[in-house]
Symmetry: C2
């Protein structure tokens, strides 16, 4: 099949949801246009922004960084070493190698040095790894951005990620979450940095194709902690629908984001108490209004102590209990 | 495994979504309670109602009729013979046999006699069979009910049907449809009869188990026209989620029906024009306000001529064109 854009080269990527197929060069143009359109439509970034790109070593975040560099944004990469045996080292290697290829040195936060490596913290606190990981990442994304005077934090969530999350929120009618789910979470006074998801219009398959054709070397293994993640169940369900009805995902997400959608507006005002409580647990990025300073670390939060400090305290207590048990 | 209710008999039906397992007798109690709770919660039926039960010969509608008879409601069955070779005859047989076993004679409408058998009408009008079938059924459900002075029409849609429809409406943000999707569609002056779905709280598996254990003989084959129906895609996607997370379907649907859900209220006021147009196409049952009389047949409608008459006219024209073509 010939490329539907240049009509000369052989097509390398077929995209049923766009009724199209592209050769590598034309696909690069298409993909970057999708991303820049996503940025423009929702005003995610301005030319003067200093962007902190959160990179995990996976395809999405490295592709995001690649596109933002190519589009001329001022960016730095942030890698959070989760302290997961083997997986974290392999991921870091990919991040460092990619950064070096673009003449960059990423900022690295090591959770082991911060006293809260994910696997041990999860065991101690008896919590799910993914839940801890979310809290810890959100905390460092914001802290590093605020300390480094970045104007915005960018993450590599793609259309598949966002629609899986949306489906989960709809299946359980988590109205507070629905009200706040958006590729743009505004910043706030008190040190809360704006957060954006510039890849919201491109699918996982498209992102993978871009990374592959661009020769970006990324970690292909899934995080070993996330095997049971419910989001994978939603993702798979949506994939089966998308296969049968190409284009469903983007219609689903754009319809959700439509400013006239009563669900998002209504939910902000009418979020039930239990849901609000859940929302404040995930702290600043998912709250509303002006946050205050955490009594312990000064980070922006909507509770007395931020969820990161509460988590650290929980892990610290569990550790000293274990140590006491061990010395008996 | 023992029955979780009587703790004596062997369990015959396991229900992960209810964390339970029942012997046949206890399952009958459980199932009927689910149905009557669904009727009570949404005030679908009153003791003095005269109920027209629409029976297709499949498990859902025969089980519905069975439960309503057992619960003491005054019911009659309506069978619409769609004129589909073989399938319609086999379905009718099951309906007649079940009705006879309860001392009943169903009302039968034959679409071939009405001049609009589904397969030929679809060919002539160049429309999808399922779309025509929906229009025709809705028309006769209401006409037979109004003529026979029934106070309510009941159909056998179960939780799987309703959630598949809900998912489809959400994926495409069909706000008009979302505003009107409910197990109770109120009647209106002008001959529009109330329509209810008393099985909305029970799943397909539960309904099938009830039918099987009760010895109700039903048609197990799917309608040969509906093989590609998109609702099957949504149903399958939800089944996979339900398998991994039992109870998701009922949480999804009950959360949707919650009167505080901004989606349903907001949508009624703010349905965009295109969506409203789509809604009026499906006529009276899915409209809002007081319908007027169809200029051609007098049936309640929100357009000049009802969709059934427009369909018949389209088929009539196509037929005469063919006949003219044939005589040349």
């Amino acid at each position: 099949m010939k490329c539907k854009r240049c009509r000369r080269a052989e097509a390398a990527v077929e995209l049923p949801s766009h009724h199209s197929a592209f050769c590598p060069d034309c696909f690069f143009v298409f993909f970057r246009r999708q991303v820049t359109e996503g940025i423009r439509k929702l005003r995610l970034l301005a030319p003067e922004d200093r962007v902190l790109v959160c990179v995990s070593g996976g395809k999405d975040s490295l592709v995001l960084w690649d596109v933002l560099i190519d589009e001329g944004y001022e960016t730095e990469g942030l890698y959070i070493d989760l302290g997961i045996d083997g997986y974290s080292d392999r991921s870091k290697e990919k991040v460092l190698a990619y950064a070096a290829s673009r003449g960059k040195t990423p900022i690295v936060v090591e959770l082991a040095k911060e006293g809260i490596p994910i696997p041990e913290a999860a065991r101690c606190a008896r919590m799910q790894e993914c839940s801890i990981c979310g809290t810890v990442k959100r905390y460092f994304f914001n802290r590093v951005a605020a300390e480094g005077r970045f104007t915005v934090v960018a993450t590599g969530h793609n259309l598949d990620d966002e629609t899986a999350r949306l489906l989960g929120n709809l299946l359980h009618w988590q109205r507070g979450h629905l009200a706040r789910q958006h590729p743009l979470l505004p910043g706030a006074d008190g040190g809360l940095v704006r957060k954006v998801k510039p890849l919201w219009r491109v699918s996982e398959v498209e992102t993978a194709a871009y990374g592959f054709l661009k020769g970006i070397d990324y970690v292909t293994e899934e995080c070993p902690m996330s095997e049971d993640a419910t989001s994978l169940v939603y993702k798979e369900a949506l994939s089966r629908i998308e296969d049968r009805m190409p284009g469903t995902r983007i219609v689903f997400y754009q319809g959700f984001l439509d400013p006239s959608n009563p669900l998002r507006k209504g939910a902000e005002a009418a979020a039930p108490a239990a849901d609000t409580a859940r929302a404040t647990e995930v702290d600043a990025e998912e709250g509303a209004g002006t946050p205050r300073a955490c009594a312990s670390c000064g980070a922006p939060t909507y509770t007395e102590t931020c969820s990161f400090c509460r988590l650290k305290e929980r892990v610290r207590k569990a550790r000293s209990l274990r140590a006491a048990g061990g010395s008996r």
